[in-house]
């Protein structure tokens, strides 16, 4: 799936999706759930957090 397709699926811009993938932007909880639902997976399977 392309960034643009994912962005269209959840109502965000492609640039925001790119920023999420690059770790430069943390999506809201709602956006994270929407993204996970697109892939048919749980939020914790798509997102993880590491101590910096």
């Amino acid at each position: 799936m392309t960034q643009a397709a994912l962005a269209d699926a959840i109502g965000m811009t492609r640039q925001t999706i790119a920023a999420v993938e690059a770790g430069k932007y943390a999506p809201s909880l709602e956006a994270a759930f929407r993204i996970a639902r697109v892939f048919g997976k749980g939020v914790d399977e798509v997102f993880w957090w590491e101590e910096r």
């Binding site: 640039q15 925001t16 920023a19 932007y25 999506p27 809201s28």
Partner: protein, 152 residues
């Protein structure tokens, strides 16, 4: 670059360029203690009209190239950038308005003691307020661009 970032760039660059030209133009008259040139208000009106027309034209061009992205509502990242920009611009505006109020008080004193004409006081007061507005809008656009670039 998203449509919203492009719009912010247009606002920032057009405002800085045209208002900068205006302030330099009228400033040449008063540098060194001279009186404001006649027709400065006309030049201000021309500047505002030019800014409005240029922003509309450039934004329309960018919107046409952006297609459906220009009509889409802001996403959360763009909204967050806008909120941060508004918060910073508010403080710039507040500081500027307080400074302008002090300026108006000083101008009133100068007019009442006959050391400045009413026309000169209007010139300095209006342009002081205009500068405050321009700076706060520039700050808003600048912060918006910075936030969008930082998270891009």
């Amino acid at each position: 670059m998203t449509f919203r970032e492009a719009s912010a760039w247009i606002t920032l660059l057009v405002s800085v360029a045209l208002y900068g030209w205006y302030f330099l133009d009228v400033g040449e008259d008063v540098i060194g203690g001279g009186a404001p040139g006649a027709g400065w208000m006309g030049r201000l009106v021309e500047t505002v009209i030019a800014i409005v027309v240029l922003e509309i034209v450039l934004t329309a061009i960018v919107a046409a190239r952006a297609g459906k992205a220009a009509r889409a509502p802001q996403d959360e990242r763009e909204r967050a950038a806008g909120l941060k920009a508004t918060a910073v611009a508010y403080w710039v505006l507040l500081t500027g308005v307080i400074s302008a109020a002090v300026l108006v008080g000083i101008l009133g004193g100068l007019v009442s003691t006959g050391r400045m004409s009413w026309g000169e006081a209007v010139f300095w007061g209006l342009n002081g307020l205009l500068l405050v507005l321009v700076l706060s809008e520039a700050a808003k656009s600048g912060v918006q661009i910075f936030q969008l670039r930082r998270t891009a």
